[in-house]
């Protein structure tokens, strides 16, 4: 059972595999884009967005796990928390870290997340057994999302470039909302007695693809990153993921029928 407020969620894919997928995929995406843009060409910046999608899927899986216990308030709150912690950690990591920036950002995010998880259980008495672990995961996933999308937008994670091209221009708000949506929305939309892990995560991929398209549009304004390939891959990924989500929705639904058009005024009389 994984309806909101009923306890641990059933998992087809073990969470540890998803954690590995998120951390490794995210870091490979971020560093891959950073080095390949320098070596191959600016159009490789799309790999950053793929890394961000790994982070978003991980975040959505962690939200699913912790929100299954019932947060006492809406699921979106935890997505906003993830991005709130993530944006602090990401900015700090890039500002002090140089090439090691993303790794430092992830470590700082994990520390903030763990601290808020401990606070939630020890001071606020939320009583969710996996709160500490999940908060750590969610904060780290939020950081990967922000870093990945920022790299996709600028082609680098050098702090002066990110600061002037992403933060000062305000595109960070786009990352905040598009990335937050990919983390908080999947479980919020799918929760209920028939919630299945693969359907929720597929919705996460779909939302991630939308964020990737948006990042691609922003990248067209940047000399260091190329938007066209990011947008194309994003649209293809969105199409595949949306079809996958729709397939799984049909699989899990008792029946899918067309309701037809609303009756007109004459027909009702």
């Amino acid at each position: 059972m994984s309806a909101g407020g009923s306890g641990a969620a059933a998992e087809a894919i073990p969470q540890n595999n998803i954690i590995a997928f998120g951390v490794l995929g995210g870091l490979i995406g971020i560093y891959g884009a950073y080095f390949l843009v320098g070596m191959v060409g600016q159009y490789m910046s799309f790999i950053g967005a793929l890394g961000a999608i790994c982070g978003m899927v991980w975040g959505a899986a962690a939200v699913r796990r912790v929100a299954s216990y019932g947060l006492g308030t809406g699921v979106p709150s935890i997505g906003m928390l993830a991005l709130g912690m993530g944006v602090i950690a990401a900015t700090f990591g890039l500002a002090v870290g140089g090439v090691a920036g993303p790794v430092i950002a992830l470590i700082v995010a994990a520390i903030i997340g763990l601290m808020i998880g401990v606070i939630a259980n020890k001071i606020l008495n939320m009583g969710i057994p996996i709160m500490e672990v999940s908060m750590t995961e969610i904060a780290t996933a939020g950081t990967i999302t922000i870093l990945g999308l920022a790299v996709a937008m600028t082609g680098t994670f050098d702090f002066p470039v990110v600061l002037s091209q992403v933060i000062t221009t305000g595109y960070i708000a786009v990352i905040f909302i598009a990335g937050g949506l990919a983390i908080l929305h999947p479980f919020n939309a799918c929760l209920g007695p028939d919630e299945k892990q693969d359907r929720t995560l597929m919705l996460g991929v779909e939302k991630g693809a939308i964020a990737m398209i948006v990042a691609g549009i922003v990248a067209t304004t940047n000399p260091n990153a190329s938007g066209a390939l990011t947008i194309l891959i994003g649209i293809a990924l969105w199409y595949v993921a949306f079809n996958g989500f729709y397939e799984r929705t049909k699989r899990d639904a008792y029946d899918v029928v067309g309701a037809g058009m609303l009756p007109s005024k004459e027909e009702l009389e």
Binding site: T73, G74, M80, V87, I88, I112, A120
Partner: protein, 239 residues
């Protein structure tokens, strides 16, 4: 690498101000009448959306007004006052429009289910609460409480922003505004979510029994914000 101890010693006042701002935000959320999804269906008292959205709305409006004031003056009192007024206006507008919708659209009188008499107007409440609901609309006491919440949230948000903008650094102004806003928004969201987990769904205002829980959220925010303040002051001060 940056000189960690030096920057922290130099900016310890701002770390304290940011922490204070975070604590104020956390406290302010307890004043705001949050009804969540039940209120959106006129089945609970308050504004029909979640704590985080409301706190973020009020806080970000406060941040914008504080930022506008900072263009004109560096006087802390004026910046903080303008942040407070901005957030109060935002909260009042949200609540008055909500009340119109409840009164003229849904057709229910504002009534609280948590108290028998409105503590401010002394009007009888329980007679007007529809059966099967937890009250509806925004009674006077919730409205006043919401405005107080807006003021505190705005003061907190502008305090955080003011402190971040005052940290000594070598950035051009446009970049400083960008990075200070990002940190302020991040700190704001963390401090909006912590009290919402403390409240757990809905609250009517300072007359609600749940309001007494606020010391726990304030303590939690104190710890979390202090850490966030260290990180943000370090990264701005190190640039």
């Amino acid at each position: 690498m940056i000189d960690v101890a030096g920057i922290l010693m130099q900016n310890i006042l701002y770390v304290i101000l940011i922490t204070l701002g975070g604590v104020l935000i956390s406290w302010s959320v307890h004043f705001v009448p949050v009804g969540g999804a039940p209120a959106a269906m006129a089945q609970a008292t308050g504004i029909g959306t979640g704590t985080v959205q409301l706190a973020a709305g009020a806080g970000l409006t406060g941040l914008v007004t504080a930022g506008a004031m900072m263009q004109v003056t560096n006087n802390a009192a004026l910046v903080i006052a303008s942040g407070a007024v901005g957030a109060m206006i935002m909260m009042s507008v949200t609540m008055i429009v909500g009340t119109w919708v409840y009164a003229y659209g849904v057709g229910c009188p504002p009534a609280s289910a948590k108290v028998k008499y409105d503590p401010i107007t002394k009007d009888r409440q329980d007679l007007y609460v529809s059966q099967g609901t937890e009250g509806h609309g925004l009674p006077t006491v919730s409205f006043v409480s919401g405005v107080i919440g807006g003021a505190l949230g705005g003061i907190g948000g502008s305090l955080v922003y003011y402190a971040l903008m005052s940290v000594e650094n070598g950035l051009p102004l446009a970049d400083l505004v960008g990075i200070a806003s990002v940190f302020a928004v991040g700190i704001f969201f963390v401090n909006a979510v912590i009290p919402s987990y403390n409240i757990g769904g809905t609250i009517e205002g300072f007359h609600d029994p749940k309001f007494k829980r606020f010391p726990k959220a304030v303590l939690a925010s104190l710890i979390a914000t202090f850490f966030c303040a260290l990180i943000s002051v370090l990264s701005i001060g190190g640039l």
